[in-house]
């Protein structure tokens, strides 16, 4: 299928430890279409973080095949994986993870500069910042001078700057109060409604309830994969 953006076939991930191998992902098969909003839920230790790392090309599976945007990543070099992360995936973290040395504006511009080897002169960075509600004055500040909600909004703008196929969110509201969390979720939902594939890893059922599809993981296996009709 051409509109499949993520495709997993018999994915296993084994961490070799002295005390014995740990099977973090056990033969997972899964595919996600362009424009889907998928929530991955499960208790801690279930393997959802490991799955997120595979989807985000931060790690490669021990066995099985994983395709991102039609390209198999299992044989990719570190250089290729890094490039794929830069152009195809937008990361949104629980702890915002902005670069402390750079201003909000520069944080958003950074992946753009890495990709195009030049500074942004098209106004894309300013437009994205305006879209997430960060004005020019705020954009000059360092992350440490911004509130949690503001930081996460900057992080969303950063994740979008290279126009990635997939937005990968790891507990995006985990460090925010419920009101700000709501705001951030609305923003992500709006991006999804404009066609961005959204994958959220969470253990918050309230967040999961917003998704079109909920995948539950336990002990490295998918225990349920259901559409959400609410």
């Amino acid at each position: 299928m051409t509109d499949e953006v993520v495709h997993l076939e018999n994915i296993s991930k084994i961490y070799p430890l002295v005390s014995g191998d740990v099977l973090a992902l056990d033969n997972i098969s899964l595919s996600i279409k362009t424009g889907e909003f998928v929530a991955i839920i499960g208790p801690s230790g279930s393997g959802k973080s490991t799955l997120l790392n595979q989807l985000g090309c931060l790690d490669v599976p021990t066995s099985g095949d994983l395709k991102i945007d039609g390209r198999s990543i299992t044989q990719m070099s570190d250089y290729e994986l890094t490039h794929l992360r830069l152009i195809s995936i937008g990361f949104i973290f629980q702890k915002f993870n902005l670069l402390p040395l750079l201003s909000a504006y520069e944080n958003v511009e950074y992946p753009y500069t890495l990709k195009y080897r030049k500074r942004d002169s098209s106004g894309r960075v300013s437009k994205l910042l305006a879209m997430v509600g960060i004005n020019e004055e705020l954009a000059k500040h360092k992350p440490s001078e911004l509130s949690g909600g503001q930081q996460q909004r900057v992080a969303i703008a950063r994740s979008l700057v290279n126009n990635p196929k997939i937005l990968l969110c790891d507990e995006p509201t985990g460090n925010l109060d419920s009101k700000t969390g709501h705001l951030v979720m609305n923003m992500l939902k709006k991006l999804n409604s404009r066609g961005k594939t959204l994958i959220i890893v969470t253990h918050d059922p309230g967040i999961a309830a917003l998704a079109d599809r909920i995948i539950t993981i336990r002990d490295g296996q998918i225990v349920s994969d259901v559409g959400n009709v609410s």
């Binding site: 790392n53 985000g56 931060l58 790690d59 570190d78 250089y79 890094t82 490039h83 992360r85 830069l86 152009i87 990361f91 973290f93 993870n97 902005l98 670069l99 402390p100 040395l101 750079l102 520069e106 511009e109 950074y110 992946p111 500069t113 890495l114 990709k115 030049k118 500074r119 950063r158 290279n162």
Partner: protein, 395 residues
């Protein structure tokens, strides 16, 4: 700033400015020590060569005294009491030297000196008064002997024995009077007069014999470059059948002294470079710290698409910046401190602003910078090799 990776390196150096400067100071000290040691060496060699070249134009000719069983290479003026240059030999030497310079004969002996009830042995020279005027041209007091009963004495001899102008004492049982005191001449090859008595040739011969047979012939050359020519000429003509005389060339001694000064200063530079080693360790430590405390940042950078090479570049830039700060500080301080250091140690900065001396500055700066970058390399590599997942997990 166009390159964002470079901009981040600059900002990190600026945020930790105190730490960066402290690390840079390590490099600065290293640069100062090797640059000033290098400059000191150059200036010392130049100034030693300069002051020694005034004595390098002298040759001494001694009769060969190998038959006595002892070596013939002892200091001049000693061990040649029994053998003298014959009148003919002296004439030959004069003929060979000819236009190259000036030759004078020297009588010398260790003789008994008596003043009051004190009695001791001392070096006694016998010279023509004309030679005294030419060679011993620096008297601190008095004048040249006007009669055979007047003598010149060295400053040390005068002060050690409480002698002054007009003082009387006896040499070899014969009373003499001090007519002049010779200024200190230091270590020289021709005449060591500081603790000696210099009398007229006639007086010497009347006391100790050896009429017209000198113990030593000294040659003062007009041009130092003729030393080898004259030495070869004397040796080939006078030692044709058997070894009769031995020529000592003081320029050889000068080059020996110069080369030992060079050896000493390069040894000092070696020791000074230990401080650069210490600086390297401190840069290594600082860079390791910078990497460790930014593990999480590295994780973020890597996860959003920064290549390993770019992480490496960021930390190498940081080490380079510290190195550049250190090198610039080092150059400024080396110039200032080196100048005063040399002024105190050598006593002259005549050769300070020469190419040979100042070349040590860029050389030391380059060494410092390279060491700085080199010690930043491993920490940078460690940062670049970090697993992004592990790094992101770091607190």
């Amino acid at each position: 700033m166009k390159d964002i990776i470079f901009a981040m390196a600059v900002r990190n150096v600026r945020i930790n400015i105190l730490r960066s400067i402290l690390a840079a100071i390590g490099i600065t000290i290293g640069i100062i020590s090797i640059a000033s040691m290098g400059m000191l060496g150059t200036n010392m060699t130049a100034s030693v060569t300069d002051s020694l070249s005034s004595m390098a134009d002298k040759l001494t000719v001694n009769p060969y005294s190998g038959k006595g069983g002892g070596g013939g290479g002892g200091p001049p003026g000693m061990g040649s009491e029994s053998d003298n240059l014959t009148k003919k030999q002296f004439k030959d030497i004069e003929k060979i030297v000819g236009k190259y310079g000036f030759v004078y004969g020297v009588h010398n002996i260790r003789a008994k000196v008596k003043k009051g009830s004190d009695e001791w042995n001392t070096q006694v020279y016998g010279l023509e008064v004309s030679a005294m005027r030419t060679i011993l041209d620096n008297l601190t007091a008095g004048g040249y002997p006007s009669s055979d009963n007047s003598v010149l004495i060295g400053t040390r001899f005068a002060s050690d024995n409480d002698l002054e102008l007009g003082s009387r004492f006896s040499v070899g049982g014969n009373g003499v009077k001090v007519s002049g005191i010779i200024e200190s001449r230091g270590m020289t090859m021709d005449l060591n007069t500081d603790s000696a008595i210099v009398m007229t040739k006639d007086k010497y011969e009347s006391l100790f014999g050896a009429k017209d047979e000198f113990g030593q012939a000294n040659i003062v050359l007009n041009d130092i470059n003729d030393a080898e020519t004259v030495t070869n000429a004397i040796e080939s003509q006078m030692n044709r059948r058997e070894e009769n005389v031995r020529v000592q060339d003081s320029s050889r001694m000068v080059s020996m002294i110069s080369s030992s000064v060079t050896t000493i200063t390069s040894f000092a530079s070696l020791i000074a470079s230990i401080s650069l080693l210490v600086a390297a360790v401190s840069i290594f430590n600082i860079m390791m710290m910078s990497v460790t405390e930014r593990i999480r940042e590295i994780g973020v950078l890597r996860s959003i698409g920064t290549q390993k090479k770019e992480i490496l570049r960021m930390f190498v830039y940081e080490a380079t910046l510290i190195g550049i700060i250190g090198a610039i500080l080092g150059m400024v301080f080396s110039l200032v401190m080196g100048y005063f250091f040399i002024l105190i140690m050598v006593g002259s900065v005549k050769y300070f602003f020469t190419y040979e001396s100042l070349i040590h500055l860029p050389y030391a700066m380059a060494v410092g910078l390279v060491i700085c970058i080199f010690s930043g390399l491993y920490p940078a590599w460690r940062g670049a090799q970090m697993d992004p997942i592990e790094a992101l997990r770091a607190e």
